[in-house]
Symmetry: C2
Subunit: 177 residues, 2 copies
Amino acid sequence: MAGGGAAASALSSPWRALLQRALDANAHLKHSTFFQLATVGGGGRPANRTVVFRGFQEHCDKIQINTDARSNKIGEIKEWPLGEICWYFTDSWEQLRISGIIDVIDGSSPDPAKLQQREKAWFASSVKSRLQYLGPSPGIPVANDDHVTDVHLDPSAGPVDTYCLLTLDPENVRLIT
Amino acid sequence: MAGGGAAASALSSPWRALLQRALDANAHLKHSTFFQLATVGGGGRPANRTVVFRGFQEHCDKIQINTDARSNKIGEIKEWPLGEICWYFTDSWEQLRISGIIDVIDGSSPDPAKLQQREKAWFASSVKSRLQYLGPSPGIPVANDDHVTDVHLDPSAGPVDTYCLLTLDPENVRLIT
């Protein structure tokens, strides 16, 4: 994961070194960059789904997650922006719980810096990964995107409307081993 | 997982056959019986942690989870008993999301049937697994319990006070592939 490489930076929070160690120890597993993001939906109902770590936002500890603007979670998170990540490393048996505030950055954001950040995250994704936002409906993380073959995307084209960047700003991080 | 074997029973809900298929396809992975349970804590904060599938309650679809009565989630769930399981199968790339109501069954339950159920779940756990409830603090699921060596437990002794059974009664189940 491109952004993960910067995790051990001397300027970053101490838990990022622990995370980087866990990512390194589990790097041979494709799913080591997958975690479960819990949020709270309508009626106070907990919601939980698997998403993919897309590295950190530059110069801070915000965790980036790509998502589809058509998924239910977007509206729910806009209403109630609290989240907790549970990141379980299946080979080293470590668990990181990271709670914080989630920011939803879609194409309608009025903040030019956020739009730039969204564009950057878009281009940091593989073209195959981008193709899923052109599909008929949001999916879940898969091992590879080989099934996405019947659509075409200009690699130099900017983010499509259905592409949404989430950033979770960690407030509380617990490593449990 | 002992209870998992009954999942494909002709009398059970259709999703249990899908779950059993996923469990079979991922049976070579110790962590295939691990999932993330999201609940809502104080102030509407989502909480998310890894727990272990302990089979189904007899004659129904309730999912059993062993937990430590000293963990924070017990008080939170008693206050707000909604949960969503995110069960991601890392080899078959399938995800089950199961939401429902959670029942907390500790030694103080006034219901004899629930106490019996708790006792049954206690004895269905390995002696090593039971030993963790005698330890100083709640832990997380691990590959094996070999580290629990400095305490002794009579295998015929019933549940200790710190042992708590959770059951989640599925209301909504989605399989996403």
